[in-house]
Amino acid sequence: MEISRRTLLRGAAGLSGAAMLSGCAGFSGGGSAGGDAGGGGDSLSMVTWASDAEQAAFTRLAQAFQERSGAVVDIRFVPYAEMFTTIDAQLQDGSAPDLFRVDYTSLGSYSSTDQLLDLSDHLDEELTGDLVPAFYEAVKFEGRPYGVPHQTDTTATIYRPDLLREAGITAVPDRLEDAWTWEEFDGILTRLKARLPDDVAPYSYMWQQAGAFRWLNWLFQAGGRLLDEDLTAAAIDSEAGRKALAVTRGLYERGLVPANTSPKSSVYADDAFVGGKTAMGALGNFVLPAVDTAVGSRFDWAVTYHPQDVRAASDLGGNALVATRQARNPELAGEFLRFMMEPENQKSFCEEAIELPTRRSLTESQLDFSVRPDLAPVYAQQATTLTPEDVAQVTVPGFGRINTALQDELEQCFVGGRSVDETITAIAENVNGITGA
């Protein structure tokens, strides 16, 4: 049995949360790379969370930037659980770093409250023209860019060929346009369910905890929307919304996913997969190193595309790099962001950290992932199904709260016995309450 890195981090988060709640103020940081803290002058300060691979890549690129420009970039690495409480506190008391990293779904809460540096004058056409439009939109607020889309990640369907073969499934889609339809996918799951042992489920989906928004993938596949075109009111109360919710609720009702992988569960889809408890799993490219290590030589695994209904869809993962409005040297901050987005730097970062680039010139090129490079094309292609309209809905300023509401309501629907209609109504009411509609 394995204790995953995430489980450990989650435990650490629990303890840090307990410490905060018990009134022991203060936000401790982790390690740091670079020289002086504080930034200003010919130095920059940056705060980010990072996996081991990401930390190595950030540190290497900071060194390269110093060699080129002479400016020291002091990067402070903190646990993800502390990241935004740290940043929020620093922004409030005027001690924010020059730069920090933020996921796309949280960026709106900073850009909409005037906390970030407007990068309109810092990004040139060579860069913005090469960005995948959906990702460039993800860092904009009211038409102005407040960050650079540093990398993205998404989910695809990991599977075990041995278990599929035992169920008589010998072919899986190897092109995006040939992805299973929902009906075909349902047939696959049903056949697997009939052949697998009782304690092994056919499938699992990575919508646990803060990943609840990944359920929207199903909504988008069904042709539905979470928000209306003005992004001001809920649009989930639709036939597509009910269809997506009924299908995903059925996964739990019919025992097609492990019951302990519900949206509020501590057990993630990748935990179930590496534990040998599922035959397939919708997993993100960012967990591939952990999956590769945990599975070892116990069984073979490969990846194919998500199923599709009205259309194919994907979920918006990944992070932007932003400069704060308090940055002491905005010019230098802009220069560092441009440096991080240079094609060779973004490519090497993504290859090292098993993540996906956001520049069009790189999405069309072959990435040499340090782990399972054979899987990169599937993830890269799956990410192309993300549309600017999808991105706009998950980057509204209040999306963090919408994500929490989604987690609570989906939990009630999937394992709490609440009906599809009641859940759709509840999600719509929550969303309207948050957007003020």
């Binding site: 629990g14 307990a18 709640l21 103020a25 949280s106 519900s262 509020k264």
Partner: protein, 332 residues
Amino acid sequence: MASPAPKKAGAEADMDGLPGPAAPVPAAVPRGVPGPSSRGRGARSLSTTAAGWAFVTPNLLVLALFLFLPLVLTWVVSFQQASPLGTQGWVGPDNYVRLLSDPVFWRVLLNSVVFTVLTVPVSIALGLGLAVLLNASLPGRAFFRTAIYLPIVLSNLVTSLMGLLLFNEGVGVLNDLLRDLGGAGLPWQSDGTLAMISVVVMTIWTRVGFAMVIYLAALQDVPQELYEAARLDGAGAWQQFRHLTLPLLSPSTLFLVVMNVIWSFQIFDVVYVMTGGGPGNATSMLVTYAYEQGFGPARDFGYGATIGVVLFVLTLGLTALQLRSRTGEDRT
């Protein structure tokens, strides 16, 4: 009823440290004629007071800064709409009104009460039983005492992770055992009742050792003559336990009840790591809910603080009730 004799400065103490009933009272010193030792006593008293304040002041400052000030601020924030980057402002009792109509709050309050009712008596009773057992001359007594106390030494994170490994319904040790024995695994994580039981079991495991140590210390102070007298009067083992041991341990029991009730209402780490409050809200507690509201994506500090205030009032009230009932017992 005899009124207690006023304490005299300089009263001598017996060799055993207790004031002797026949201790000599020093002769009164004539007014205006300071005795040779009066100034010395005054200076000594002043010096003692200053030393006392010197010891207490740093602690008071730390308490004021890290306990009382945050406590007051929590009350203040509970009357505000407060988020780190969003709007700030006074909202009066709105957060409390919202709390009353929030079904999740009532659910987590019920969960906290159920959790407390399940964990407090069981951990104290088990601690008492183990203390009585390990107070006797048993082979391997030191080993068992250490083994039972060990979870206290471990970090709560570690014990919670162990709980996760034990009760994981997919790859957990317990379900593996059940399957090896030919049965089916139990839904420890997807059934609300079983999830609550798993959290309760792990919590009790971490607390039994503490109760045992407190009771063991108290048992050392029980005079053996009382048991000899009871045996001479014909009392059996159960009667000795019921009418001697239990009453004599009651101060320790009160301490353990107060501490365990506070700990149970403040439970966070075990729940956060093992169940995340799920399935649904089946294991969500007051503190985990406050954390979700205050430090989750919503960052609703005002509402999180409101839940914190309710937790504080509840804990304070329950502790006061327990202390009051103890005072009543002492009077009777």
